[in-house]
Symmetry: C2
């Protein structure tokens, strides 16, 4: 029965492509930037938009308030209480779009343009994560058209703080533990291995994100009067941050590598077998010199080694021309991608110690923390992962790559810790989607094959 239904569902999905694309564009017009308080009303609009879409499919929908942006929670009984229970996760918030002048079209006025792989939609959030959310939303719509609802019990959770480290989601998960007691969680916020080649992500890097606010002295000074006598906050800050890594790219934060697991020979062999072309991966961005630690493979560096990146820096005179000032303040945003085994709190303390050890006695600093989540691995032997493998193989005609993920999806760790559930990381982005950069895009072919994959996955999971 469900298989007969699936054919109809896929046909309905193909017929509804224009509608699916129109829905995505409508949602992308809402500038739901979670990092910027001025956009709080837009975040709420993006949440209610998703809520109303699900209501139209017979979901019971509610908003759970947080100190910043609300969480959308929606439930559908499916065939009944005995059916498997699938929790679907997504996020409606997006990264800030700056620098604006590099966009080919305004970030919140979605443009559908031709690319080497057919049409694509260009907008902030196109793939991260609004486009990915549309893949499962379209699948749910098609199942509703054909069968009056999904073939399994479905709970949907769409948050609005993923891009700022989901600071308030844990509280919601704890409060809604019963409602969220699913059999499996499906998360679409990851990439395919390559165009036409699906992937399931089985490991994720965590993250700590800090801001260093350094100060020396009580005021800005004149470099003529004070140069060679007064300390300079920007000389100090660059001296500290310039010492982050040794000549081999190894990060010098105290205790940074404590607990990091060295990959085994088999793991390294699997990575080798994927023939990852780092030259092309970098070349498409005008780069040719690999970063990270010397003497380690590209996939090991991306999937199994922690990072330390300066995401922003500012201080002193940043205007046109010259100002001969010795600045008393300097600021930098420093984030680390973490791998399983590293403890975020110890890394933050390591950063504090690293800075303290490198500043003069009359300088001081404040360390703000915007995100703190450990890395994690997902078991590859579960029946749910097996179902996803089959669904993807049926859709793409080839089995998915079991990939590592360089990025962080804090909620996956929270789901494991609070709900005791593993996630299926089945996403449809591509490496050149320019996530978090100007001209972020999502291939319409990925949107539609992703929707078909979700329709198949629901059918597979219905079989239990």
């Amino acid at each position: 029965m469900s298989h007969h239904h699936l054919d109809q569902v896929l046909a309905v999905l193909d017929a509804a492509r224009a509608e699916t694309e129109a829905s995505l564009i409508e949602w992308l017009r809402i500038p739901s930037i979670s990092a910027q308080p001025v956009h709080a009303p837009d975040c709420r609009r993006a949440a209610t938009w998703m809520g109303s879409q699900l209501e139209a499919l017979g979901f019971a929908v509610g908003l759970r308030e947080t100190p910043t942006h609300p969480v959308v929670l929606a439930t559908h009984p499916g065939p009944g209480p005995d059916a498997p229970h699938v929790l679907i996760y997504g996020h409606y918030d997006v990264q800030p779009p700056e620098p604006l002048d590099l966009w080919i079209s305004p970030p919140f006025e979605p443009a559908v343009v031709d690319g080497p792989r057919g049409k694509r939609v260009v907008a902030r959030g196109a793939v991260d994560d609004k486009g990915q959310c549309l893949t499962w939303l379209a699948a749910l719509r098609a199942w509703n058209t054909v069968a009056g609802g999904p073939p399994v019990r479905v709970t949907v959770l769409v948050e609005g703080e993923e891009e700022v480290g989901s600071p308030n989601l844990d509280a919601v998960l704890k409060a809604e533990k019963n409602l969220l007691a699913a059999d499996v969680i499906v998360v679409s916020d990851t990439n395919m291995w390559a165009p036409g080649v699906p992937a399931l992500t089985v490991s994720l890097r965590g993250m700590v994100y800090t801001q260093i606010n350094l100060r020396v002295g009580s005021r800005d000074l004149h470099s003529g009067l004070y140069g060679n006598s007064a300390g300079n906050a920007l000389n100090i800050l660059t001296r500290v941050l310039g010492d982050l890594k040794d000549e081999n790219g190894r990060i010098k934060i105290p205790g940074f590598y404590d607990g990091v697991i060295e990959p085994g020979a088999n793991q390294r062999a699997d990575w080798e077998a994927l023939n990852f072309d780092e030259a092309a991966f970098l070349g498409q961005n005008g780069l040719s010199v690999p970063g990270g630690e010397k003497g380690r493979g590209a996939l090991e560096r991306l999937w199994a080694r922690p990072t330390a990146d300066i995401n922003g820096i500012w201080g002193g005179y940043m205007g046109e021309g010259s100002k001969t000032v010795i600045a008393c303040e300097g600021h930098a945003k420093l984030s680390c991608r973490l791998v399983p085994g590293q403890e975020p709190e110890k890394i933050i303390e390591g950063i504090r110690q690293f800075v303290q050890e490198r500043i003069p006695a009359d300088a001081s600093f404040e360390l703000q923390c915007f995100a703190s989540t450990p890395g994690l691995s997902i078991p590859t032997d579960s029946p749910h992962l097996a179902a996803a493998r089959v669904a993807l193989e049926e859709e793409f005609g080839k089995p998915p790559v079991l990939a590592g993920g360089g990025g962080s999806i804090p909620v996956v760790e929270s789901f494991k810790r609070i709900l005791g559930l593993d996630s299926l990381l089945m996403g449809f982005g591509l490496d050149d989607d320019q996530v978090h950069s100007p001209n972020e895009k999502f291939e319409l072919s990925c949107l539609h094959s992703g929707a078909r994959s979700h329709a198949r996955l629901l059918a597979r999971l219905a079989k239990g």
Copy 2:
């Protein structure tokens, strides 16, 4: 005759204090920020303001246009063609006032407030250089009241590009060589040794001011997808700039110290005899750790050793909260104070080489240059310097300190190079005037004793 006049001139000056202060406040209201093109009309207003003041004293006044801000040129025949010819220099442009939130009153709404040494005026340009210009303008006014004009031939040159390195002044000096053929030049843009203790500055540091625009790759990237693979412009920039000095504070720019003259034992002894209190000099700014090279005295570091200060830095995400971006661009403003013997062009090439040697093969940078002027020394055995020593001793009751100057006054080097003339650096600022910083101020006592000193100097120079 002139001495009888001088007593009257000093009396007139004392009676005109309120008028002198009102003139200064009026001029300070004009935001003549030379570095910011939007303020070009304000620079012109500041120039014409000074022109009209001199016209009222019988000067023939003209504006010499430059690609940016005009130069005020005014001449007075004095007693006649045989009288000594004194060229007075000042600048009407000011530094940008940022950061605005640290000012106790708006930078261009002058506030007269009480301080430990009596009343002071707080505003951008209060001392640098509008207040200092008022010291000689007030003296010229008093001489005009008493004697119908100054006791010497006077040419006044007030430029509007000093704070951006006087890029166009040389051309004006060359074009006006005949008009500017004076016997001596008087420049008031320096400090007193201490409250009540006058100084003549006999050496000046030069400056090169550069901006480094570093780039790696073609776009910003996501630190999750690319961290440990893609180069990060901000990690690279801080690594380069963090390596500017060795552990002893010695600057590592190639060839940086070529030509620098080591002070002799006598020079060091003179500096020691001044008992300069660096702890107090730093302490008033909340600092306690001396910068510059270890193992050298404070005055040697300030007067006879070159600097490398990062005056501004910016790149990546500088907004609220977190953005996990790997930036493809980073920018920094780097300036060096130079001492006699260093060649600015070689220093700029050294900076270029220093950066080039420290960036990866796929990174590139542009080096902008906003200022380039060598350091210089002024002979201490001229009759003009002798006249200034006497004028200051008569006014303050103690001889002036022959001081070094840490700052740069490019025009003094241009006067020497183009006109073949030495300058008298007789200024009335104090070390705590917060030049180039928020709440820049000028003590009214310095304003008035400066005016009296200029009145005396003109009388002394009249004696030839």
